[in-house]
């Protein structure tokens, strides 16, 4: 367990050793602001609602931030050979996977926490733009966290399958995009197929959270994706032994 945390800590810190973490956080916040206030038109809606913030945050995380953060996790270590150094330390393969996962999820969480600046600045201090219902905001953040957990696990799994960061980025990007929008495609699909598409879509599973509703089905959905992808990443890492 201690090894897991050591790896997670190193991974998390290494993001801040390069400009990546700063760029991701600053750009993420700026883009979120632009979309929330100008594209969505927060002022025109004239309601103290953060629902759309969560929708945009999920979009940004899925399509840009998570792929950028997870692309190098294992792919780069495989390419440079540092993985050999890491794995031949007294550490289990599962601890390597979990450590890397927690390190990346840590950075995403920091970004999520940073977005909390928006509701706090707008509704608590220094401005009071209206009475904000805190329940849905907290539920929305829980949803985003679960969503990030699943997305990072998917990115880690894909990163474990290739030695190229670029490939890892694009595959993760496409998978997350499809997972996000599969419900929209499902609109056109007939009957049962459409239902399945809605059930596995990220967006559909996030809407409840943004409205303040914590449904166990949605929670289990995100947690199962996380678990499944972590196990697959572990297997993929282990497969080096037999190839």
């Amino acid at each position: 367990m201690k090894a897991t945390l050591t790896i997670a800590k190193r991974e998390f810190k290494s993001y801040f050793d390069s400009p990546l973490a700063y760029v991701v956080i600053c750009l993420g916040l700026a883009l979120l602001g632009v979309f929330f206030f100008f594209v969505h038109g927060f002022w025109q809606v004239d309601r103290a609602s953060m629902t759309m913030l969560f929708s945009y945050a999920a979009w940004g995380l899925g399509t840009l931030i998570v792929p950028v953060i997870t692309m190098r996790l294992l792919a780069d270590e495989k390419r440079t050979g540092t993985l050999e150094m890491l794995i031949t330390l007294p550490v289990k393969d599962s601890e390597v996977i979990l450590g890397k996962y927690l390190g990346a999820l840590g950075l995403v969480s920091v970004l999520l926490l940073a977005t909390a600046l928006y509701p706090i600045l707008m509704f608590k201090w220094p401005w009071h733009l209206g009475p904000l219902d805190t329940g849905p905001v907290l539920a929305g953040y829980l949803g985003l966290l679960l969503y990030s957990a699943a997305a990072v696990a998917i990115g880690l799994m894909i990163s474990s399958l290739t030695e190229s960061q670029v490939v890892a980025f694009f595959v993760t990007f496409i998978v997350l995009l499809v997972m996000h929008k599969v419900a929209d495609i499902g609109e056109f699909a007939p009957g049962r197929l459409g239902e399945i598409a809605r059930a596995v879509s990220f967006e559909a599973n996030l809407t409840n959270f943004a409205r303040g509703l914590i449904d166990t089905r949605n929670v289990i959905y995100f947690l199962s994706i996380t678990g499944l992808c972590l196990v697959m990443a572990f297997r993929s890492l282990e497969s080096r032994k037999w190839s």
Partner: protein, 384 residues
């Protein structure tokens, strides 16, 4: 298995698809030994080391480190090991201190122990100047030292070093070899390389692998002896003689070939004042007195007479020769053809400047080939 066997490999086989990277490799390394693991590139050195460090698993066979099976208890194995993979892959964004601290953390070493260990490691590996620097800014030599440092931070009884001197300049090589000698005083070390001089400098024993098989295993003297014969270098003055006329090369050659126990004589290149010959004879006897007597009897002026064993390099080339021929698709030809092919290959080597890791080895090979070809051609001239 006696208790002082630190590394035990038995019938290790590793298949990559249908290619056997390792074919029943077995050896033991005992406590306190520094063993050179030699072989051409692709012979299976790294594969063996990766199996020993539990990075990959063998297709069949077993290996034990410090009595722990690599398959059943990989964590215990890794606790006992310090490992430096090829090219020392390190996290470039970390400083040397951070990296060593990370390795220590991963090995559950507390801060107090770390500080005392660090002092030792910095001293042995010469890292005092670079502790605060980022690894990516360091030269190859320093990276190797940091790699050695992380392998030593937990004071392991066994060290496995995969080509610790590749990519280094000659000074750095010598330094790293010195460090390894220093480290090897109280530890068991398995060191892979294809640089024979290093093995001779640092190791008492060598294991030579070729095409995934162990082709020689023993002390350096044993391995040299395995090659069988010794050679004599004889140089006779061409212009002057003690009595009578100065000898021609053919006369000297025939007279030397007439000596008992001489297996072969070949002329080697020399300046125009002397005839130089290389004689091969079995290693049991010393024929220098006979050569001297012959020279006195004929009235030749003997400029040089030297007996030396085959170098480890010769042995290495003999043992692994099949592999390079195989790679060139020439494995089934007979000996005569081999020599010619080697000459051809030499020109390739010279043309090919980016020899990389193999440069030194290739140079030696081409040197040997050159002298051979020259002696061959001068032989022909004489016959003409």
């Amino acid at each position: 298995m006696s208790t002082d066997v630190m590394i035990h490999a038995s019938n290790l086989t590793k298949m990559f698809g249908s290619l056997a990277a390792l074919d029943r490799v077995s050896f033991d390394v005992h406590k306190g030994e520094v063993v050179g693991f030699l072989g051409p590139n692709g012979a299976g050195k790294s594969t063996t080391m990766r199996i020993l460090t539990c990075f990959i698993s063998p297709s069949s066979g077993t290996a034990k480190i410090h009595g722990h099976d690599v398959f059943e208890s990989p964590l215990e194995v890794r606790q006992k090991l310090g490992y430096l993979p090829q090219r020392a892959p390190l996290y470039g964004e970390m400083s040397v201190w951070e990296y060593l601290r990370f390795s220590a953390d991963m090995r559950q070493i507390d801060m107090g122990t770390f500080k005392t260990r660090l002092r030792k490691v910095v001293e042995v590996c010469g890292l005092a100047q670079v502790l605060g620097k980022d690894i990516r800014t360091l030269s190859h030599g320093y990276r190797q030292r940091v790699g050695l440092g992380q392998a030593l931070i937990h004071d392991p009884p066994i060290l496995i070093l995969d080509e610790p001197t590749s990519d280094l300049d000659p000074n750095e090589k010598a330094e790293v070899i010195n460090y390894i000698r220093e480290i090897g005083k109280e530890r068991t070390v398995l060191l892979s390389t294809h640089n024979l001089a290093e093995v001779e400098a640092a190791c008492a024993r060598a294991i030579i692998v070729s095409k995934g098989r162990v082709v020689a295993d023993g002390t350096l003297d044993d391995i040299r002896a395995k090659a069988g014969n010794v050679r004599y270098l004889v140089t006779v003055d061409e212009k002057n003689a003690m009595t009578g006329k100065a000898p021609t090369a053919t006369v000297v050659r025939d007279a030397l070939a007439g000596l008992a126990k001489v297996q072969s004589v070949s002329e080697t290149p020399s300046d125009d004042k002397a005839h130089a010959f290389e004689l091969a004879a079995d290693k049991e006897s010393d024929i220098r007195p006979e050569i001297y007597r012959l020279a006195v009897e004929k009235g030749w002026i003997l400029l040089e007479l030297r007996r030396d064993a085959k170098t480890l390099g010769d042995v290495f080339r003999d043992l692994t020769r099949g592999e390079s021929l195989h790679a060139r698709g020439l494995a089934d030809r007979d000996d005569e053809d081999e020599d010619e092919d080697e000459e051809e290959d030499d020109t390739d080597d010279e043309a090919d400047d980016d020899g990389g890791d193999d440069e030194e080895q290739d140079d030696r090979e081409s040197d040997a080939g050159d002298s051979k070809s020259k002696s061959g051609s001068s032989d022909k001239k004489k016959k003409d």
